[in-house]
């Protein structure tokens, strides 16, 4: 059992890291497409309608815009707007001084600098005199940003360049020993880490040009640009994926195959790193088929779309090229499908059964039970819920649909709760939150928002859970209209133990330094409830040193105040509640008093 837990937490960890990486890319896919289309259409001389002026856009977009956006987004994920700004500033340091697009560098510098800034802020924030916040905010970011950009320029940039050079050397070596297909084992992972352009344009294209000059065509042009492996993975997601990755895959597949924008499928692999095996298998197959069937291109196919490939295919090599691309797609599809399907079944019968039992149990209660480790917090009720958030992997599609569905249901039922959607990684832990996720994201959502109430659904669009949720909230509003009838004495009698209610002659709330107002309000609400229930025990707010140490006092406090109370008194009776005003226990206390 313990091992089981560990295993799943490692899995969650890897998945989380993958989501983090893809989270930096996802919001920027639009920009990547803008660049991809510009390149596909207008690139000189290989575009469909070459245009030398528009061509000027392509390189800065790829080398500056995209890494800066990624650094910005990466920073934002760590520390909101300030993180975003410093992430972009620091990323520039990695970009300047190389010709390769520094996606990987941006993915490191963005979050890293935001994290540093956060640490710095934490250390200094409370030392800033009021009125100086603005100066501090701007200058701390400015100074740290400058330092990090310089650091990135002199330290990180060379490391990145060295890294991609090693990848080049590896590929180069494999090509020299004529084991061409094996080169894809290095190329595919490097591609996913956004080294695709470094490898494609940096190594393969120059070598390919030499070869093409001699024999009229080269397979090397195809090794990185082959859209087959990416296509296969995306098709597998279309059929066997889950949630947003499934629903966004068809569009991505079209962009990959016809647009040749490989960047589009990298996030999918980052989300589930084992899929790199599918990409490798596809790549190896493709290159093998190209070599055997006499495929090859006259020039570089950039971007790597099927159209570009056919456009620059050497005479007589159309068949080899097509079969190579399709073969790569089929193999990577099969491998990816196996990985995705195996993952879906979790492969572990025990875990599967446990899951089944748990969901059966929770269904009989009409409410999803959080897992055992969070059992204490599961007593939260619908009464505390202030908003509903649908969370999905990227916050792109499925959660928005689910949210609008529930919003609609709420509207019809007259429930006025905000329903929004977001990506799991953007969840903020707060009280009064109901988070709705797909089953497989529940773990991650719980890590992000341990205090929120959780409901998991199998399907965002047609889940019976929605109607249960609506019913629960509806019941609640009806109850609130008539608070007298709300008391349900039968409800969980075990919550209050060890209290001798017969001895209680006075109920007290404690007024202490930071809780004057809330104690006043709690006293008023409680005595109101007592009056309505026809109970006569007096209710008073007192200072902590005003009590007699005697069991005739029943003191209702928050957990924080209980400690201090215990230091002073031995015999008074104490009940702790999380919320002095609205805790469920309060009603039960009223019921038990005289």
């Amino acid at each position: 059992m313990a091992q089981e837990k560990k295993k799943s937490s490692i899995k969650v960890g890897i998945q989380k890291f993958g989501t983090f990486l893809s989270g930096m890319i996802m919001p920027n896919i639009g920009a990547i497409i803008a660049w991809g289309l510009t390149a596909a259409i207008f690139m000189t001389p290989n575009g469909w309608f070459p245009n030398a002026q528009i061509n000027n856009l392509i390189k800065p977009m790829l080398n500056y815009l995209l890494p800066l956006l990624i650094g910005y987004t990466g920073g934002k994920m760590v520390d909101d707007d300030r993180g975003a700004v410093i992430g972009a500033v620091a990323t520039l340091g990695v970009i300047v001084g190389t010709d390769a697009p520094m996606f990987l560098g941006a993915m490191i510098m963005g979050p890293f600098s935001a994290w540093l800034l956060k640490k710095l802020d934490n250390a200094f924030q409370d030392k800033i005199k009021s009125g100086f916040e603005m100066i501090y905010n701007n200058f701390s970011l400015g100074i740290l940003g400058m330092i990090l950009a310089i650091f990135a320029y002199f330290i990180v940039n060379p490391i990145m360049v060295t890294g991609s050079r090693w990848a080049s050397i590896g590929v180069d070596a494999i090509i020299r020993v004529h084991l061409l297909p094996l080169a894809n084992i290095i190329i595919e992972p490097a591609k996913v880490l956004f080294l695709n352009n470094a490898i494609g344009n940096g190594i393969l294209v120059p070598l390919g040009i030499q070869q093409a000059a001699k024999v009229g065509k080269s397979v090397l042009f195809l090794m990185e640009s082959n859209p087959g492996p990416g296509l296969g993975i995306l098709l597998a997601f279309m059929l066997f994926g889950k949630g947003s990755s499934k629903s966004s895959a068809p569009g991505a597949a079209i962009i990959e195959f016809f647009g040749g924008v490989h960047e589009i499928y990298f996030p999918y692999v980052l989300m589930k790193p084992s899929l790199i095996l599918a990409a490798m298998a596809g790549g190896v197959t493709g290159t093998f088929l190209f070599s055997v069937l006499g495929g090859g291109l006259k020039a570089a196919a950039s971007p790597g779309s099927i159209l570009a490939i056919l456009l620059v295919a050497a005479k007589g090599s159309y068949f080899g090229n097509l079969v190579g691309v399709l073969g790569a797609a089929i193999v990577s599809f099969v491998v990816a499908a196996i990985i995705l399907k195996r993952d879906k079944g979790t492969g572990d019968e025990l875990a599967e059964k446990q899951k089944q039992m748990k969901s059966m149990k929770s269904e009989s209660k009409g409410q999803e039970m959080p897992s055992a480790q969070n059992a204490q917090s599961s007593v939260k009720s619908y009464a505390d819920i202030k908003k509903v958030i649908f969370a999905c992997d990227a916050g792109m599609g499925s959660s928005a649909m689910g949210a609008s569905l529930l919003r609609d249901k709420f509207k019809k039922a007259g429930i006025k709760l905000p329903v929004t959607n977001t990506a799991v990684r953007n969840l903020k832990d707060e009280d009064g939150l109901l988070v709705i996720t797909q089953e497989e994201l529940t773990d991650r959502a719980r890590q992000k928002a341990p205090n929120a109430m959780q409901v998991s659904v199998g399907n965002f669009l047609s889940s019976p859970k929605y109607d249960q949720i609506v019913a629960n909230f509806k019941a609640l509003t009806q109850v609130e209209d008539k608070p007298e009838k709300a008391a349900k004495p039968a409800e969980k009698p075990g919550l209050i133990i060890g209290i001798d209610f017969s001895k209680v002659k006075e109920v007290n709330f404690i007024r202490h330094d930071e809780h004057l107002g809330s104690a006043t309000m709690a006293t008023s609400l409680f005595s109101d409830a007592m009056k309505k229930a026809g109970k006569k025990t007096p209710v008073k707010a007192v200072k902590i040193n005003e009590l007699d140490d005697d069991p005739s006092h029943l003191v209702i406090v928050t957990p924080a105040a209980k400690k201090n109370l215990k230091l002073r008194y031995a015999d008074i009776q104490i009940i702790t509640v999380d919320d002095l005003l609205q805790d469920k226990k309060l009603k039960q206390i009223v019921d038990k008093l005289n």
């Binding site: 007024r511 107002g517 309000m521 008023s524």
Partner: protein
């Protein structure tokens, strides 16, 4: 419009609701939002129709006649941790108030912040947070969260 720190008075202890209203009104006067006459109009309005909103808050403001005393839109906050009863003297129900919002509104400029206050205070535990707030900034920060 925004809440100003100088318009927030914490930890006040007042014996009557009129005094609580006067205190909220005086903050509006000191903040340059209204003429002193506006305060009387606030008292009049509350005698007319109570500005007790439930959930331990009250939002005293002037009558229609009192509008001519408004110089600019403003909102003041008075925190009364020990509470003050806003019910009519001859009424035996208790209308305890711990947070008083004094309102002077011109051209609906205050509606935005008022709706924030309304949404925020519709949850009594949020009111408790306001009633326990230790600094004007905390009050501002609490209310600011509503918009998000």
């Amino acid at each position: 419009m925004k809440l100003e720190k100088s318009m927030i008075k914490l930890n006040q202890d007042v014996p009557t609701r009129d005094q609580a209203i006067r205190m909220a009104g005086q903050l509006l006067v000191d903040g340059g939002c209204v003429e002193p006459e506006y305060i009387d109009s606030m008292i009049a309005r509350n005698n007319d129709v109570s500005t007790y909103m439930g959930n331990f808050i009250a939002i005293p403001h002037g009558t229609d006649d009192g509008k001519k005393y408004i110089k600019k839109t403003g909102i003041s906050v008075v925190q009364i941790p020990m509470g003050v009863d806003f019910s009519n003297p001859d009424d035996d129900t208790e209308q305890l108030v711990t947070v008083v919002f004094g309102i002077a509104g011109l051209n609906n400029e205050h509606l935005n912040i008022l709706s924030q206050i309304a949404i925020f205070c519709s949850d009594v535990s949020n009111v408790a947070k306001l009633a326990d707030a230790q600094s004007p900034q905390e009050v501002i920060d609490l209310l600011k969260k509503v918009g998000k």
